[in-house]
C-alpha cells in the first residue's frame, strides 16, 4: 500500500469462529482492493483486552476502526478512546451503541425467525423441540429470543433450552443431544443457534438411529451445507450474507472517507434459508 493509504483497524474477540473469520477476510479483501491498509487483531474472547486493543488502535489514529462481533456494552472504554481520538467505529454483527457510527449485521431476529420457520416446516408444525444456545453471545441470544417467540406462536413446546459449551461446541452438543434423546422419547426437532452445535446434534441423532428428528442451524457454513445435502437429520441452515455485510461496511467507510456520515445507526441484512428442499 502506498504511504498515506487509509489505515483501517479491525478488532474482534472471536477470530477462532469460522463466521467471524469469514466476514473479516471478506472485508479485508475488499478494503485492500480499495487501497486501504487493513490490520486485524483478535483477543480470543477476552473483552478487557479487546478494550485495550481498541484503545491502542485509537491512539494510532487510523481512518476507521471496525469492530467485528464484539458486545459493545462491554467496550465503552475503548469506544470512548476512539471517540476522543475522533476515530469512527463501524461494527459488524455487533449492536447499536454510543460510540458506534453504524452497525452492519445480519438481522439476528430475522435469522432466528427463518431458522425457526425451517424447523417448524421440517416437523410439520407441531411436536416438541429443544433449543441449543449460548447467551453470553449477544447475537446468538437475539436469534434464540426470536426463534423462541416463533415456536411459542406456533404452539410448539420447547422442552428444554441448553447452553452449548465454547470451546468444543460440536462434541459438547453431541453429548447434550445423546443425553437429551434418552429422556425425551418424543422429541421432534432441535434448533441450534449456530451450525457447529447443529452438527453435533445431527451426529448424535444419527448414532441413536432417531432419524425422524430434524435439526436446523444458523450461519450456512460449508459443512452444514454438506450435511443438508445428505438428507439426514440436518434439515436447514440460514446463511448469513457475509459478502453483503462486508461490502456494506466497506461502502460506509468509503463514504466516511469522503466525509459522508452513515444515515442509519443500524443496517440489518436478511439471511437466506438453505434447506433440503431448496
Amino acid at each position: 500500500q502506498p504511504p498515506g493509504a487509509p489505515a483501517i483497524s479491525v478488532v474482534t474477540p472471536y477470530l477462532a469462529n469460522a463466521a467471524t473469520k469469514d466476514v473479516v477476510d471478506k472485508f479485508t479483501a475488499i478494503g485492500e482492493r480499495r487501497g486501504w491498509q487493513v490490520t486485524v487483531t483478535d483477543t480470543a474472547g477476552d473483552f478487557s483486552m479487546l478494550n485495550d486493543k481498541i484503545q491502542s488502535a485509537a491512539s494510532r489514529r487510523p481512518s476507521a476502526i471496525v469492530l467485528a462481533m464484539g458486545d459493545p456494552t462491554q467496550l465503552t472504554l475503548g469506544l470512548k478512546a476512539a471517540g476522543d481520538n475522533k476515530v469512527p467505529v463501524f461494527a459488524i454483527d455487533a449492536a447499536q451503541a454510543d460510540g458506534i457510527a453504524a452497525n452492519v449485521t445480519s438481522d439476528n431476529a430475522d435469522l432466528g425467525r427463518k431458522s425457526a420457520a425451517a424447523l417448524l416446516e421440517a416437523i410439520g408444525g407441531s411436536g416438541n423441540v429443544a433449543m441449543f444456545g449460548h447467551d453470553p453471545h449477544p447475537g446468538v441470544r437475539a436469534r434464540a429470543a426470536a426463534a423462541r417467540a416463533e415456536f411459542d406462536k406456533a404452539g410448539v413446546t420447547v422442552v428444554t433450552v441448553k447452553h452449548v459449551p465454547v470451546p468444543g461446541p460440536v462434541e459438547g452438543a453431541r453429548k447434550l443431544t445423546t443425553d437429551l434423546l434418552a429422556v425425551t422419547p418424543d422429541l421432534k426437532g432441535i434448533w441450534a443457534a449456530w451450525d457447529e452445535p447443529a452438527l453435533g446434534a445431527t451426529q448424535a441423532i444419527r448414532q441413536a438411529g432417531r432419524m425422524g428428528i430434524a435439526v436446523v442451524g444458523v450461519d450456512g457454513q460449508d459443512f452444514a451445507l454438506a450435511e443438508i445435502q445428505k438428507a439426514g437429520p440436518f434439515y436447514a441452515t440460514v446463511k448469513q450474507d457475509w459478502d453483503a455485510v462486508a461490502l456494506k461496511v466497506a461502502d460506509l467507510i468509503t463514504d466516511q472517507l469522503a466525509g459522508k456520515a452513515p444515515t442509519q445507526r443500524e443496517y440489518a441484512l436478511p439471511g437466506t434459508t438453505i434447506a433440503r428442499t431448496t
Partner: protein, 316 residues
C-alpha cells in the same frame, strides 16, 4: 509384625475411594430410575468419557513425574487438524493417522526437552506450546472447520464392532496399557521415583532427564490419539475441538488423587476421576436442570463426592 499391617490400610484407602461415586450413582438412579441405569444410557456414558479417559491417562504419566502438561488439549486439536488436512489432501488414512501421531510425539519431545533439559517449569513450557499450537491449528484451518473426511477414517470414532464403540475399546486399551506401564514396568518405577524424589532417583542411577522427557512423549502421543478419535467421531476437525480436555484431564487426575488419598497419581484413581466427571455430566443432563444451575451443582457435587470419599487422614 506381619504384612497385614501394611496391606490393610491400603485396602481401607481403596475401599473409601469410590464412595462418592457410588453416592452419585445412587442419587441419579433414584432421581431418574428408568433412564439413568438403562444400559443404553450407560453405554452412551462410556462413549462420552472415552476420549477424556485417553488424555487423562496420558496426563497421569506426566503427573506421576510431578509435572503437568497444559498442552494436551491444544495437541489434540492440532493432531485432529493435521490428520483432517492430510486426508482432505488425499493422503491414505493410515498415513494421515501416522503423521498426526508423529506430530503428537514431536510435541511431546519438545515439551519434554524444555522441561527436562532447558529446565523450564512445566507450566511455562506447556503453556507456551499450548499457545503456539492453538495458533498453529487456527493458521492451518484458517479458523474454520474441516469436513468431508473419508469413510474409513470415520470408522475409528464411529464404528461399533459387536455393539461396543471402537472409541471405548481404544480407551480401555489405553487405560490398561498405561496402568501396566505405570505399575508393572521398570519405566513406571522410574517415573514414580522421579516424581517422588528426583534427587534420590539420580542417586539411584536413574536418568532423570530422559525419564521426564519420556513422560511428555507419552502425553503428547495420548493427546494426539485423542485428537484423532475426536475428529473421527465428529467427522470434522475444528481448531479448538480438543481444548476443553486440558483442564478436565488434570482435574480427573487430581480427583483420583484426592479421593483415593493416594500419595501419587494412579491410573485407577484417574479413571475414577473421569467416571465421576462423566456421571455427573450425564446425570445432570438427564435431570434437565437449568444449564447455569447445572454448573453450580457440578461444582458443589465435585466437592461433596470427593470429600465423601475421604476418611479422616493425611493430605495426598
Amino acid at each position: 509384625m506381619t504384612a497385614g499391617a501394611g496391606v490393610r490400610p491400603a485396602l481401607r484407602r481403596l475401599s473409601g475411594a469410590p464412595l462418592g461415586l457410588l453416592a452419585l450413582i445412587a442419587l441419579f438412579t433414584i432421581l431418574r430410575p428408568t433412564v439413568f441405569p438403562d444400559p443404553g444410557n450407560l453405554s452412551n456414558l462410556l462413549e462420552h468419557i472415552a476420549v477424556l479417559t485417553i488424555v487423562a491417562c496420558a496426563q497421569t504419566v506426566v503427573m506421576a513425574v510431578a509435572d503437568f502438561d497444559l498442552s494436551v488439549g491444544a495437541t489434540a486439536s492440532f493432531s485432529g487438524v493435521i490428520a483432517a488436512q492430510l486426508l482432505v489432501a488425499g493422503w491414505p488414512t493410515v498415513a494421515a493417522i501416522a503423521a498426526a501421531m508423529a506430530a503428537g510425539v514431536v510435541i511431546g519431545v519438545v515439551n519434554g526437552w524444555l522441561v527436562a533439559y532447558l529446565k523450564l517449569s512445566a507450566f511455562v513450557a506447556t503453556l507456551a506450546s499450548m499457545t503456539a499450537l492453538a495458533g498453529g491449528s487456527l493458521l492451518l484451518t484458517d479458523g474454520s472447520t474441516i469436513f468431508g473426511l473419508p469413510d474409513d477414517f470415520l470408522l475409528l470414532g464411529q464404528s461399533r464392532p459387536l455393539g461396543i464403540p471402537t472409541v471405548v475399546l481404544i480407551a480401555i486399551t489405553v487405560g490398561a496399557v498405561t496402568w501396566f506401564l505405570l505399575s508393572r514396568t521398570a519405566q513406571g518405577r522410574r517415573w514414580h521415583a522421579v516424581g517422588g524424589n528426583a534427587e534420590a532417583a539420580t542417586y539411584a542411577g536413574i536418568d532423570v532427564g530422559r525419564t521426564r522427557l519420556l513422560a511428555f512423549v507419552v502425553s503428547g502421543a495420548g493427546a494426539a490419539l485423542a485428537g484423532l478419535l475426536l475428529s473421527s467421531r465428529l467427522a470434522s476437525a475444528h481448531p479448538t475441538a480438543g481444548d476443553p480436555l486440558m483442564l478436565t484431564s488434570i482435574a480427573a487426575v487430581f480427583i483420583g488423587l484426592t479421593a483415593a488419598q493416594a500419595a501419587r497419581p494412579s491410573v485407577a484413581g484417574t479413571i475414577l476421576g473421569v467416571v465421576v466427571l462423566g456421571v455427573l455430566d450425564n446425570g445432570l443432563n438427564l435431570l434437565d436442570v437449568n444449564p447455569y444451575v447445572q454448573q453450580i451443582l457440578t461444582g458443589l457435587i465435585i466437592v461433596v463426592s470427593v470429600g465423601l470419599s475421604r476418611r479422616r487422614g493425611e493430605r495426598p
